[in-house]
Symmetry: C2
């Protein structure tokens, strides 16, 4: 937790917060904060700055906060990802959030196991939990939006064209065409398949919408490795 992510209802008066629960425990056991210490804090979807500890009880911490800095820039990327298995999804949400992704579409594809859609990880509260960990890690305050799309065809037909307009459209595919370009310097829509990849018909659907089929080279990477590798390649 490199930043303490605050919510509106943490504020007891303007510029003063009281924190309990998970964040309090972390501040107490990891930061080992004492009265007078300064920590990095930020308000969800708002500015960040410093929090100065003013009071400690066995179950809460009170801090005076000054929020005067902008969060780090976001990536101009829309990530369209076949729904990964729940355990991997947790880590990937945290990873892509820490990297600065702000728009994530989790979509169904032929090779997504149907059972994944009933996972409790997809509940709003759980999605927010893993996103929060990513923001706290990377010192960011802007919550990414996660959209669940259980039907591939309507998503592609009714939404994808609009949301990818005026972006560089890429579909990552192990059997892809040319190797993924390096830092093309424009907004990007990146589609990533499930374990086992998109089926040919799905790749063709993307191609009809103007997506270019790109690979990462000879090596086949797990989704959770491929995602940071591709984002690094596209945005550094």
């Amino acid at each position: 937790m490199n930043l303490i992510l605050l919510k509106e209802n943490d504020f007891t008066s303007p510029g003063r917060v009281t924190i309990r629960g998970r964040r309090f425990t972390h501040i107490q056991t990891v930061h080992r904060a004492a009265v007078g210490d300064q920590l990095t804090a930020g308000l969800i979807n708002n500015k960040m700055g410093t929090a100065t500890v003013t009071h400690l009880t066995p179950s809460s911490i009170e801090m005076d906060v000054t929020l005067d800095q902008d969060p780090p820039p976001a990536l101009d990327l829309t990530l369209v990802m076949a729904l990964p298995r729940p355990k991997m999804l947790k880590r990937i949400l945290q990873t892509v959030t820490s990297l600065g992704v702000k728009r994530i579409y989790l979509v169904n594809t032929w090779r997504v196991e149907k059972g994944f859609w009933s996972s409790p990880v997809l509940e709003q509260e759980s999605l927010e939990e893993h996103i929060t960990l990513g923001l706290e890690q990377a010192k960011d305050t802007i919550m990414p939006q996660v959209f669940l799309r259980r039907l591939f065809t309507p998503f592609v037909k009714e939404e994808l064209e609009t949301l990818s307009r005026d972006t560089l459209k890429l579909v990552a595919h192990p059997k892809g065409g040319r190797v993924c370009p390096c830092h093309p310097g424009q907004p990007i829509t990146l589609a990533m398949g499930p374990e086992g990849g998109f089926i040919d018909r799905e790749v063709e659907t993307f191609e009809r919408l103007g997506f270019e089929n790109v690979s990462l080279g000879e090596r086949i990477l797990r989704l959770e490795t491929a995602v940071p590798v591709l984002i690094s390649r596209l945005f550094t």
Copy 2:
């Protein structure tokens, strides 16, 4: 398992193997292989090619193998990494192996929890298990070497200078100097700190050996995200 990694003792005669256990179960339940099917296979530290299923029993599979292709190129990188917590180490070993890293030094630093060194993950058999998963994932056969160095100072004084000679020497540090360079096109030695980072004295030790202190920008990433991001940045 995109490649079936064979050992010398899988061979029952030249060009013929019998597989049992984990790999057999995977071939049976995931690949759902039948007699006549062709799979990708490779011999540890040797060539790769195809394996044709010739016989199936309830507990074993027999295949004829032709190994005539070179494994994918390795990265010319020596990774010096503060020993991560065991659960993360498993994933990182798999990740860096899949990316083509072949030399990994796991070292002690001030902020490494001492208990990590007694983890069963560090036993040879366990290291090989996670490395194997990385090779099977990426379709590679060359086992990386993992070196355990429980004492920071002797490692740095007696080994690091020699092993990093004639390479670009980088130490990743969130409070680092310039942002990490992109694909410098030369052999690299990359040092990565533990959760919480190297302490200043350790960074200075690296700097005295000619390591340049580089950062990944404003965002602080978990080690398991920073590793693929940095490798992608340095080698693509």
